[in-house]
């Protein structure tokens, strides 16, 4: 199965959600997560491969801007067009409070301190939302019948 976490960017809370799903988040410091706040990975719009779980499910993130439901609908319809079902591809939109600020910070040029602000403020915002995000991903995992 392929699992795609959708958010307004693919390198912030979607990436943390993917890492929670993969049980790869060992410490509370998101800056240690591979690819976190790496905007260069997000600009093309291509899905980003995060890893594979013990059952062989491949996990991706993708940044789609503000219209998560439109992107979700398109991805699901595309999969159906090619004869794939929800057992082959699952799309999980991830939304948190403050995500618009995260998206805005991503657009500040590096020379104006964008990378620094992006890394530290995004980490702070995701930490504030972490408990709810963890719970949401645990429920999602249970719905997929994948043991936590």
């Amino acid at each position: 199965m392929k699992i795609v976490f959708l958010a307004n960017t693919g390198v912030h809370h979607a990436l943390i959600a993917a890492n929670i799903f993969l049980e790869k988040l060992e410490k509370d410091d998101f800056r240690l997560v591979k690819g976190f706040c790496d905007i260069s990975k997000d600009v093309s719009g291509f899905p980003i491969f995060v890893g594979e779980d013990k059952a062989g499910n491949q996990v991706y993130t993708v940044g789609v801007g503000d219209d998560l439901n439109i992107a979700r609908k398109t991805i699901e319809e595309l999969a159906q067009m090619f004869g794939y079902s929800s057992r082959d591809l699952v799309v999980k939109p991830v939304s948190i409070k403050g995500e618009r600020l995260i998206s805005l910070l991503s657009k500040i040029p590096h020379l104006l301190g964008g990378s620094y602000l992006n890394l530290h403020i995004s980490s702070y915002i995701i930490k504030l939302n972490f408990a709810r995000l963890f719970e949401e991903i645990s429920v999602f995992k249970a719905q997929l019948n994948i043991a936590p």
Partner: protein
């Protein structure tokens, strides 16, 4: 092969491009507004249609032609999203995605916005017709390029 033409609303440029691809509209002369309105989905979509991939027909090479409205997404990002998902599913070679927004002029955007988003059909449609006729040859060019690129892959 499946070919998806996409634009902002999936209502004008992508639908016209699909109609040109399928030979429903003559490429050698500018179409009248009545001819455009006879094309399925042309200036007839609503907000619920954003993100829906709608089937238009099958061309002479057996390729399935679809249209899609992506709303405010950047065109290249949406093309990459679709191609990326196709790659994940292992069907990249069976999909071709075309962004029509580069061939749309501001008169067409204004007419489309007035007709679909503002709901002022009687005001927007004549402006849309003017813009569409002005963009027509650019869209013909895009479709011809697409047909040439996909022909070799069928």
């Amino acid at each position: 092969m499946k070919i998806i033409y996409h634009c902002f609303g999936g209502s004008h440029s992508s639908v016209l491009a699909a109609a040109l691809h399928l030979g429903w509209i003559e490429k050698s002369r500018l179409p009248a507004i009545d001819e455009l309105m006879a094309v399925p989905y042309f200036d007839k979509t609503s907000d619920e249609d954003f993100g829906c991939i709608r089937f238009m027909g099958v061309d002479e090479y057996g390729s399935e032609i679809y249209v899609l409205g992506k709303k405010s997404f950047a065109g290249y990002r949406y093309s990459n999203l679709l191609m990326g998902i196709a790659e994940i599913l292992g069907v990249k070679e069976e999909l071709f995605v075309v962004d029509c927004m580069s061939r749309v002029n501001w008169i067409m955007k204004l007419g489309g916005f007035t007709s679909r988003r503002a709901g002022l059909i009687s005001l927007g449609r004549p402006v849309l017709g003017l813009g569409t006729r002005s963009a027509f040859l650019n869209l013909v060019n895009l479709v011809e390029i697409t047909r040439l690129k996909t022909m070799s892959r069928v």
